[in-house]
């Protein structure tokens, strides 16, 4: 689905990714790991067509991203950003309906099949009862689900999410992880999301993409655990990753 060919991304003077190549062809649920500032967001933005690429190219469903018109691109990839969207007077159903934009006419008129997809998207996220409510009176977790329903309504084979769990409490994080896994497998999507939740990534995801600046590693989850790349994230004596128990250990200093 997503192919990166010798992709170089940078930010000012810094190089985030250098000649990174990966073939995310199988789909499923993919976690994007990396430390703060390692370029997770930049990579997601680049794949969504929002960022600029230093060199190399990105292929989406076999087509060069740089040559895709925005309308065509919007039918292949959807994106849930970290931006908090709270629009008073805009009902959740209308927010999800905006996801149909790539398919509607010039004024955005919804056809019966559009409405069907909108209802289905809301139902898949368990948000059908929120359809008539507005987001300025909802919790972060609920708003996050509406934005994901919107991405689902966009009906794209690829869905990108930038740190979807970051504003959520612990139970909500796991629920969202399970939900993304369900969507990836039952709806046959390629869902790539950046996260700092090692636990969710290692237990729920089919693949792990890991940015160890300026390299990008991409492997099935078990292989990634065995590879030792995750330990590299913790270049520290007191904090280590235990690949057998999938746990992070903090060494206590002797009193």
């Amino acid at each position: 689905m997503i192919q990166l060919e010798a992709l170089t991304l940078g930010y000012g003077q810094q190089i985030l990714l250098d000649q990174a190549s990966a073939n995310l062809d199988k789909g499923g649920l993919i976690a994007l790991l990396g430390r703060n500032g390692s370029g997770k967001s930049s990579l997601l933005r680049a794949i969504a067509g929002l960022g600029t690429i230093r060199s190399g190219r990105i292929l989406l469903a076999g087509r060069d991203l740089a040559e895709l018109q925005p309308e065509k691109r919007a039918r292949i990839v959807s994106f849930v950003t970290t931006e908090k969207v709270r629009i008073p007077n805009l009902k959740c159903r209308d927010v999800v309906a905006l996801g149909r934009a790539p398919y509607t006419n010039w004024v955005g008129h919804l056809q019966p099949q559009d409405r069907e997809i909108i209802d289905k998207s809301l139902a898949l996220l368990d948000m059908a009862s929120y359809a008539e409510r507005t987001m300025d009176q909802m919790s972060d977790g609920e708003c996050q689900r509406i934005m994901i329903a919107r991405a689902l309504a966009q009906d794209t084979p690829i869905i990108l999410l930038d740190e979807p769990t970051s504003f959520l409490d612990l139970p909500n994080r796991y629920e969202l992880g399970v939900l993304l896994q369900k969507l990836a497998h039952e709806q046959n999507k390629c869902i790539l999301f950046s996260t700092h939740e090692l636990d969710i990534a290692l237990t729920l995801c089919d693949y792990i993409a890991l940015i160890d600046r300026p390299h990008l590693h991409y492997q099935p989850t078990q292989q990634m655990i065995n590879s030792g790349h995750i330990e590299c994230l913790f270049r520290n004596e007191t904090i280590t990753f235990d690949p057998k128990e999938l746990r992070i250990r903090v060494q206590r200093k002797a009193p």
Binding site: A74, S78, V85, D94, A101, P102
Partner: protein, 333 residues
């Protein structure tokens, strides 16, 4: 019947009543029967005909055009900048227009145009329009290179300040007579528009309206912000350019012909949002147009009755709405 239909069926007769009231109000007292006779073509004296058709009717039509143009621009600016306090003049349109007019009023005597009334009125409108277009063109060019919309906003405000400073220099150098002329323009007036000017105003504003209607889907996508809009297939440069052209045609034209009319474009979209309880521009655009027409007709009736510049009235009526918006946004939930 849904809420939208009910409100529209309620507002349209109200707008017609305001239209008639505005036609009936003015310096010279004319009875409703006399006005009616002119429209039905029954024989009345030439003076009455003139007053009704080339003074009253023109002024009412101008009021409607101002209401439509500024309300649409306000709605567009508030959505594009995702800022409830954005208005048509935010991007420095009025300052640009003012700068053009100030240059003309100060510069016209140098070209020997000061004594011709015709050239003077054409010149003021032309210079005002030119100034507005220059500023918005500059903003449109900047917005192609500045990625963050907040950056565009700041540039717009700064350009407005620069224009304002140059206007002050020009005022300082002006004679008392020139100053008075400029102040009259800057207070906003509906009375200076003649039938001939109206025939320039109408097509330009219609173009702006058509462009605004064409941008409805774009505006809806922009509700979620530029990033989301782009991932849903929006070509952001094209979208910004189209909306800025629409605003230039609408606000630039109104400002050039009638001077800056403040607070209307800022307040009306908020009333529309509250009344229709909706953020969809398919409702908000026609809603704002209708409410804008009503607001401007009301302001014009009051302005005529009290014999005051219309700008004071729009401010006095618009500012309470804005205070209410700020209060509503800031109060604890």
């Amino acid at each position: 019947m849904n809420r939208k239909t009910i409100i529209f069926t309620f507002l349209i007769p109200l707008a017609i009543i305001l239209f008639v009231l505005d036609l009936l109000s003015g310096d010279s007292t004319l009875s409703a029967g006399q006005v009616w006779n002119v429209f039905t073509g029954n024989v009345t004296d030439e003076t009455t005909r003139n007053i009704v058709l080339s003074i009253r009717l023109v002024r009412v039509v101008v009021a409607i055009l101002i209401g439509v143009a500024l309300s649409i621009s306000g709605l567009q600016m508030q959505t594009v900048f995702r800022n409830p306090l954005a208005d048509p003049y935010l991007l420095g349109v009025s300052s640009g227009s003012g700068l053009g007019v100030a240059f003309f009023i100060l510069g016209a005597p140098l070209f020997g145009l000061a004594h011709s009334g015709f050239w003077q009125s054409v010149g003021i409108v032309g210079a005002g329009w030119g100034g507005a277009v220059m500023v918005l063109l500059l903003i449109a060019i900047i917005s192609r290179y500045v990625k963050n919309i907040l950056g565009v906003l700041i540039m717009g405000v700064m350009i407005g300040y620069i224009a304002g400073a140059i206007i002050q220099i020009l005022q300082y150098l002006s004679s008392a007579e020139q100053l008075k002329m400029f102040f009259l323009w800057s207070m906003g007036s509906l009375g200076h528009v003649t039938t001939t000017k109206l025939f320039i105003m109408i097509p330009v504003i219609c173009m702006g309206i058509i462009l605004a209607i064409y941008c409805i889907k774009v505006l809806n996508l922009l509700l979620l912000g530029e990033n989301y809009a782009q991932t849903m297939g929006l070509n952001i440069r094209r979208a910004r350019t189209l909306i800025f052209i629409s605003t230039t045609l609408l606000t630039g034209t109104v400002t050039a012909f009638c001077g800056p009319v403040g607070f209307l474009g800022l307040a009306v979209p908020h009333v529309a949002r509250m009344l229709f309880n909706d953020a969809d521009h398919r409702t908000l655009l026609p809603g704002s147009i209708l409410l804008g027409i009503m607001a401007m007709l009301l302001c014009d009736i009051i302005a005529k009755t009290l014999v005051l510049p219309v700008n004071c009235i729009t401010a006095l009526l618009g500012i309470p709405v804005i205070i209410w918006v700020v209060y509503k946004n800031l109060r604890p939930a």
